[in-house]
């Protein structure tokens, strides 16, 4: 039996938005409500994600601010902060709430503004992002977030022979997918040569191995299984797993296996009664090309050590046997931190409904979303399926 259903999905374009967070979130919230055919009054609670508005924009207590702006003042709002896994954590708790009967219908979503064009410059945002690494034992070394994933990826390269060219193929693939997505931050294709010619950010990552700083918002309407059939296009949520790992990186037993993702995937698959072999496609947290390689292995979509070759040989492309990030992923679609988790749910919903337009995958009946936070110390894995 499904744990819950998504009956409405909406998101803004990811890119540059020089408007207040409340206006940005309302656009996604109204998109989700309109898609569901629901009114604000139908929503009993808001599960809201935003990672760093306090640091980046000096605005806190955002829950009632966005609820008020979107016509939902009065309902309970809970705000989640879990670095880049912020709104997947909100989604997890929303699913649990409707499953338990706490609420029948809720809105889940997130918003963030990260672009230098609308806020702080690259150096300042690099510091804000680095706040997710350990304040005492990592930040004083000058560790950045590209650096965090570089540390994980270089050990993977050492263990498995993953190459910079294979990493570049992840970027090329996701830019290609993103070119089909009208809401993507980056809409143009790139070549392996262009990726490998880019300036180094933190080796082995060059500029195009990294996702952009993005502004954006996303939202979904989540309802109980009992209520789902009263909406036009429900998509089932059959499993949501959530796990954490040791912080800091140096104390993780094997950092590059991203154990939290493996634990979360096992939990999600078990709830859904499926295995990785049953998954038709995945949206994974490719904040850096290496992160997609690690995620594809942690989810069991490819064998350990095969993430790089799978990207290079096209297995993870739209027409491959395990399509990954048909939306373009964080790499091309963009990564407004607090909006990323529910944006993955938006993509799963549209693909599983067969409403993904030019980027629609054939035979998409079951999919998985993998949203990672911090140095991979938080991961939420969700399984969604065409309603049975």
């Amino acid at each position: 039996m499904p744990r819950a259903a998504v009956v409405g999905a909406g998101m803004t374009e990811f890119g540059i938005h020089d408007i207040p967070l409340e206006e940005l979130f309302a656009e996604a919230a109204f998109g989700a409500l309109d898609d569901a055919g629901a009114e604000p009054a139908d929503v009993e609670a808001l599960y809201f994600g935003n990672a760093m508005s306090g640091q980046a924009e000096n605005t806190t207590h955002l829950g009632p601010k966005v609820a008020t702006h979107a016509g939902m003042a009065g309902i309970p709002v809970q705000r989640f902060e879990d670095a880049c896994a912020t709104s997947a954590n909100a989604f997890k708790n929303a699913v649990a709430a409707v499953e338990a009967g706490v609420h029948d219908a809720v809105l889940v979503g997130g918003v963030e503004r990260c672009t230098p064009e609308t806020g702080r410059d690259t150096a300042a945002m690099t510091r804000v992002f680095a706040s997710a690494s350990h304040r005492q034992y990592e930040q004083p070394a000058g560790l950045t977030f590209p650096g965090v994933f570089a540390l994980l990826t270089k050990r993977h390269m050492y263990e498995h022979g993953t190459t910079e060219e294979q990493l570049a193929h992840v970027a090329v693939k996701n830019h290609g997918h993103g070119a089909l997505n009208p809401r993507a931050h980056f809409g143009k294709e790139v070549t392996v040569e262009e990726v490998l010619d880019g300036p180094v950010v933190a080796d082995p990552f060059r500029l195009m191995d990294c996702c952009p700083f993005s502004d954006g918002a996303s939202a979904v309407v989540v309802v109980s299984d009992e209520l789902a059939d009263s909406y036009d296009a429900p998509v089932d949520v059959t499993g949501v797993g959530h796990a954490t790992d040791v912080v800091p990186i140096a104390d993780k037993p094997t950092p590059h296996v991203t154990q939290a993702a493996r634990d979360a995937a096992e939990e999600a698959y078990e709830q859904a009664g499926v295995s990785a072999d049953d998954v038709d496609f995945a949206e994974v947290h490719d904040c850096f090309t290496g992160a997609e390689v690690l995620a594809s292995e942690a989810l069991g979509l490819v064998a350990d050590g095969e993430g790089g070759p799978a990207a290079a040989t096209g297995r993870t492309a739209r027409d491959g046997d395990v399509p990954i990030n048909p939306s373009g992923g964080l790499k091309a679609k963009g990564h407004p931190i607090g909006a990323t988790g529910t944006a993955q749910v938006v993509e799963l919903t549209e693909q599983l409904r067969g409403e993904a337009g030019a980027r629609q995958l054939p035979d998409a009946d079951r999919a998985v979303a993998h949203n990672l936070g911090g140095d991979a110390a938080t991961t939420v894995v969700s399984v969604m399926e065409v309603r049975g």
């Binding site: 304040r135 004083p140 070394a141 000058g142 650096g147 540390l151 050492y158 800091p248």
Partner: protein, 121 residues
């Protein structure tokens, strides 16, 4: 049961050229930074232990785009495997994964927090 290792004690030791970790009597794990309880089994009161100051590079990267507050570019950050535990710090010099390195001091940020600095052994 010991009183456990604190950030202050860990930092003071590092300034004096020593690396401290915490050893768990219950599960046998050793961690390279202070914890109020063992992250692997939950046992409280990890025993402060002095870690070796030499080891091998477990993983490393060169940061070319620094955060606000750091003016230099092209500095290296590494996780160093000391045997019983690993620690993260700066790496000066040409050591790659698997190469031998040794503690060579520390770096300090604007709030006075310190992390180890390693050089090729």
């Amino acid at each position: 049961m010991s009183d456990g290792l604190t950030h202050a004690a860990w930092s003071d030791a590092l300034r004096e050229g020593a690396l401290l970790g915490g050893a768990c009597d219950d599960c046998g794990a050793t961690v390279g930074t202070p914890k109020a309880a063992c992250p692997h089994c939950g046992a409280r009161g990890l025993e402060p232990v002095e870690l070796p100051t030499a080891g091998t590079v477990y993983t490393e990267t060169t940061v070319e785009v620094p955060p606000e507050g750091i003016d230099e570019r092209g500095y290296r950050v590494a996780v160093v495997d000391l045997g019983a535990a690993r620690v993260l710090g700066r790496l000066d010099g040409a050591a790659e994964i698997g190469d031998a390195v040794a503690l060579a001091g520390h770096v300090e940020d604007e709030q006075g927090y310190v992390v180890p600095r390693f050089e090729p052994a």
